[in-house]
Symmetry: C2
C-alpha cells in the first residue's frame, strides 16, 4: 500500500512549491508554519501532516536546493578523469549553476541565503558531504603525485580556503564581476602545481630565480 506515502510526498512537493513562491514574495526571514499553511489554504494542523515541524520543512527546502549540486558532485567523483580535471569540474559546475540561479532571480537567491543562515544546522550536513567528496578527489590527486606532504584533512581545508569565493553563495553578491571560470581554473592549476610543495623548489618558468636570504 504505497499510495498514502506517495500522496504525502506529492503534497510535500506542492507545499515546497508554495514555500518557494512565499520566499520569493516576502523574503526568507522568520517564515512561519502558520504563514505557509495560510498561503497553501490549509489549516496549520493539516500542514503538520506533511512537515512535522519547521525544521523538517527547512530540511526539505534545503534538500531541494542542494539536490542538483549533490548530483554534480556525485557525477564528477564517479567520472573517469584525471584528478586535476575532476577538481575543476567539481567546483566550476556548481559555481556556474549557482551563478545562473543568482542571475535569474537575485532577490530569491538572497532570500534562500537568509534561510540558510537562519538554519545553518541544515546547511552543515551538505557542507560536510562536500568535504567528504572533496577528500575523495584529494586522495586521487595524491595517488597521481599531487599535494605532497599534506594530510588529507589539511589538503581539504586548504583547497576549501583557496576556492571559497567560488563555493560560498554570499561571494556572488559582492564579487560576481570578479569571479570567472577562467580564474577558478587558474586557482585549481596553482593548487595542483604548487600546494604542498617546498617553496625553495625552482620555479618551472625557466627564468633564473635568485633566492635572496636576509
Amino acid at each position: 500500500m504505497a499510495r498514502p506515502q506517495t500522496d504525502i510526498e506529492a503534497g510535500r512537493q506542492e507545499l515546497l512549491d508554495i514555500c518557494e513562491q512565499l520566499v520569493r514574495q516576502r523574503g526568507g526571514v522568520d517564515l512561519s508554519m502558520t504563514e505557509l499553511a495560510a498561503a497553501a489554504g490549509m489549516s496549520p494542523a493539516n500542514l503538520y501532516r506533511f512537515f512535522e515541524n519547521k525544521e523538517a520543512l527547512m530540511e526539505a527546502a534545503a534538500g531541494r536546493w542542494f539536490a542538483p549540486k549533490i548530483a554534480i558532485m556525485e557525477e564528477v567523483v564517479a567520472a573517469d578523469l584525471p584528478s586535476r580535471e575532476k577538481m575543476f569540474q567539481f567546483f566550476v559546475r556548481r559555481f556556474v549553476r549557482m551563478r545562473d540561479e543568482f542571475h535569474e532571480d537575485p532577490d530569491m537567491f538572497k532570500s534562500y541565503l537568509e534561510l540558510g543562515n537562519e538554519h545553518f544546522e541544515v546547511v552543515k550536513g551538505y557542507v560536510d558531504l562536500g568535504d567528504h567528496y572533496l577528500s575523495e578527489l584529494v586522495v586521487q590527486a595524491m595517488d597521481e603525485g599531487y599535494l605532497p606532504d599534506l594530510s588529507i584533512d589539511d589538503a581539504v581545508s586548504l583547497i576549501n580556503q583557496m576556492v571559497v569565493t567560488y563555493c560560498n553563495p554570499e561571494a556572488l553578491i559582492y564579487l560576481d564581476h570578479k569571479l570567472s571560470e577562467e580564474k577558478l581554473g587558474m586557482i585549481i592549476d596553482a593548487i595542483f602545481i604548487g600546494l604542498g610543495r617546498k617553496f625553495d623548489a625552482k620555479p618551472s618558468s625557466g627564468k633564473p630565480h635568485i633566492k635572496i636570504v636576509t
Copy 2:
C-alpha cells in the same frame, strides 16, 4: 595658531573613545549622533563641531581601526625582502592582528563588522588601498620571475580570492579554528610556485607523473 585645531583633534580622539565604548555596550547597528552626544554629555550641536555628520564620524572610526593595518602594509611594502616573504608578511601580520582583536573582544569585533557593513563606502577606500599595495608586491614578484603570463590586475584579483579567508574579518567568526599562519604560508607558497604557470608543467616532486588523457 595651531591651538584650536589641536583642541578639535583632541576632542575628536576623546569622542572616538566614547564611540568605541558605546559600540562595545550596544553594538554597532544604527548608532546615532544624538546617542553619541548624550554619551559624551554634550549637545548634538556641540558634537557637530567635531564631526560634521555621521559619515565623518564613521570615517574617523574606520580610520582608527584601519590605521595599524595600513602601517603594517606600508612597512612591509617598503621592506628590503624577497617578494615571497613580503607577500606572506603582508597578509599574515594583518591576519594575526585581526585575530588578536577578535579573541580579545569578540562582541566588539562583531559590532565593528556591523558598522563596516552599514558604511561600506568608508571601508571601500581601505580595500582599494590594500589592492594598491598588493599590486606593488605583484610587480616585484613578477620582476623576480613569479606570476608569469598574468596581468597585474588579474594577479591581484586571483591572490585576493585565494587568501580571502585571511583578509575578510567575517571569516574569523566562522572559520577561526581552521585558519592558521602555517596554512596561510602554504597558500602563499602555492601562489608563488604555481599561479600563472601552465598545468602541464611537470610537478616538481620528483615522483613520476602520468598524465591520463581521456
